[in-house]
Assembly symmetry: D2
Homo-oligomer: 266 residues x 4
């Protein structure tokens, strides 16, 4: 399985506050989740690269053999070029899985896939969060400690303006009095989607073993690790004109209709 | 309640085959569903108008007080200007209901709201269709004859490439051997969405009493006729920074974090 | 609309701790929600009555014209006679709505309707609860203050062992660190079901205006106040043998099958 | 993985009409689906055995290590002893998967798990059926031919009186004009449920390769073949009293409440 991890890698992450949490950027920390497994990690451009005019390598071509894209973003959503957005959405429709982390709820990609503003309430005061499993049957929640605790997180609270999820797997509790549907799934075309709320760039959330296992589980699920799932259905956009299987006696002669641009009398 | 009915009003509809089914365009036929009720019908530009360079009056302003938009389209989806699409989506997020009829499954608006290609299989040979109610509890299916029959329809068949619907209300059966989730609902932001498959422009489908009642029911449901539902939530895109309700002791002093752009030591 | 309110009315409720919260039993408090409205409240036997061998009047007959049954129970679930349970379930299948309050999650009726143990975690230490709306579109959440606060409640926490709800309307937050899907809906047969967690018998929860409005909204929704919904479908259990609509030529003569108990050759 | 296949094995199946379709009973045919795989098939009592007073071996004990139970029944639902029903339901709640075939929709077990009458319409005239995949992403639909055809089946039609399924995977089309949600999933406790409509005892349906693959896929899915899913959670009915994780200062001393049967003043 091939995974690409995208990170903005701007602002806080380049400051002491961010470097204290993740010395080389949080994408490098997330990559260590897959060390020693059969999941291969690839990095393409960060947003920092794009802003510095390094050549963009997030393209239909570079994503063609990617099973899962992990997308972390917080501040620069509008700077992501539309052709990158379109290439990703096409690949999701074809069957690439995608995991949106933390503030990626406001990315262009998730908004185009879900069709909603994805707005929420928020608060940044370093309060504790607990993560509760509401769906014990889902592959993503296997092996996760019920109600595990993150000492500090940014609060994202309800109402979360998303479509009704296919599954609400995790619900977050915050010390300050809020809750959030913090782990939810969707399907679009052949592609599986997981949104997961924790991961503010100044807290070492991606070092937490429960968080790491959730991301690992989600990668297998979004990547359709079950070999019985076909990974790519290239015909996802086809709208074929099909012949009737059952006999539809004389319909072509019995009904007034347009056939190949011409009117046909009854 | 105020309803706008949009129709392409191009091609077949202007030919004898179309005029035989609906003399003045199918939008005029659909409007008669609401005669004698408290639902007020308004017409804005047809696509024919837009193609003839008549001024476009489908705008944020003209939609501001509209409760439900009914959208019929088949052939000219790409000719709908993007600013019309954006104005409609904004209004759906704010709470305007929208009903997509027949080939509107391929319109830009539904694709942007659902985030999927909305592809399907199709066949045009005038075969019979039957419409079965799978959800007897939904307001849209009240008073509809189980398994009612349309003598001739265009076949739209599975697989229908849409997100998992909130409700599958109707399932279509076709003489030629296919089935379709022909009546499905979604919610996006504050807006309710109903897609309904029947309505090929050369068959008098919108004169069928069951079809008419479904469209009437769907208009009330999408328009949130229940007075207990707030019709407009103008803050649909807000992402407010909120204060903690519960005491979060000394967090602002206990945790390293970025506050107003500055790093704060622990 | 006719509503029956059932209360165990045993144990705590008859002690000073319970009488301090609700002088005459919490069913009498709940009844005041409907004062001055067109909803008519009826009381049938409490469980206290049944345990004192007062004649049981919760029967198929007494429930025949009831639109919604509100069921509060905490401690004596096993003392409810099976014929009462069966009569209620039959009526739910026919279209009677039912609201389960607080510990009614462990009642025989809800377990038989949902098919799950309905287990959860719990804690009784008078901690604060907040109730958050996750589904802003549902009739039950209209007019409810986002994140309203109850100063003291019994904690019911995840994992809540229920089927996937049709809608998760409310999520509860507890001071002690837990969350709960505290307001959820289901449909069984023609009947609508709402489970709502708050309402420990020693706290004056049913005097809280948001709680009262939720119960009022839920009563209208479960009772299908929308006049377009048929309230009773007496044929809910029918499994009719139906004739084919479409021509199935000579099938009766072409296929080996059992017909009226006899084998028929091809 | 261990699978038990239950068959009534009464009436038609013992007559020439049934023996022609399946010489030794349809359970023996279904068992051949798993030949050469790692799935081990076990047979316990048929209903024929029970009616002939052979000792019942469908017990909590014999089901203790079973991963999936496949249940075929048509005519003798009321003859299944309640202790068998209860043992099965307990095991489903613990995590055993269950597949209900054909008329098993009227079995006591499914009715108790779903909480609905499970009624439908039906017709037995040997008409053709086609099976369409509505959910292409589900493990159960992988490798199944879209719209495959069964030359003869008993018709089961909408409305199917079941709860809203977790997933509608297959929709059936019938020559006579009806449709049916013919493959649907549910979850109850830790157990996964699949209902699948085809399989009238006088037609060789279980010899059809698509039908066989669906049953095979469903067995893997219901049995949680993905090794990341815990197969048994023996604590499924626990309702533990839990301590607060977060500090709930002085609540035990600040709030009037019942604690260990005693009233506590504020």
């Amino acid at each position: 399985m091939k995974v690409v991890i995208f990170n903005e890698y701007t602002k806080n992450q380049l400051q002491p506050i961010g470097k204290k949490a993740y010395k080389n950027g949080l994408h490098k920390e997330i990559a260590t989740i897959f060390e020693g497994t059969e999941v291969q990690v690839k990095f393409l451009s960060t947003l920092k690269d794009l802003l510095e005019h390094t050549e963009n390598d997030i393209t239909a071509q570079s994503l063609a053999d990617v099973d899962v894209l992990i997308w972390w973003a917080h501040c620069n959503h509008q700077d992501v070029p539309d052709e990158v957005v379109d290439a990703i959405i096409k690949r999701v429709h074809e069957g690439m899985g995608i995991i949106f982390l933390h503030s990626a709820h406001f990315s262009k990609v998730i908004q185009k896939l879900l069709g909603t503003p994805c707005s929420l309430t928020w608060r940044e005061c370093g309060e504790a969060e607990r993560i509760w499993t509401a769906d014990r049957d889902h592959p993503i929640s296997q092996g996760i400690e019920q109600g595990f605790r993150l000492p500090h997180e940014e609060m994202y609270g309800e109402h979360f303006n998303i479509p009704k999820p296919d599954d609400v797997i995790f619900i977050g509790w915050y010390q300050g009095g809020d809750v959030f549907r913090s782990g939810v799934t969707f399907t679009r075309g052949e592609g599986r989607i997981f949104y997961f709320q924790p991961g503010h760039e100044t807290f070492p959330t991606y070092k937490n073993p429960n968080i790491r296992k959730i991301i690992f589980n989600a990668t297998l699920w979004c990547g359709k690790e079950e070999d019985k799932i076909q990974k790519v259905n290239k015909k996802y956009k086809d709208a074929p004109n099909v012949h009737p299987c059952e006999q539809v006696h004389k319909l072509f002669h019995a009904v007034g209709r347009v056939k190949q641009g011409k009117e046909v009398d009854e």
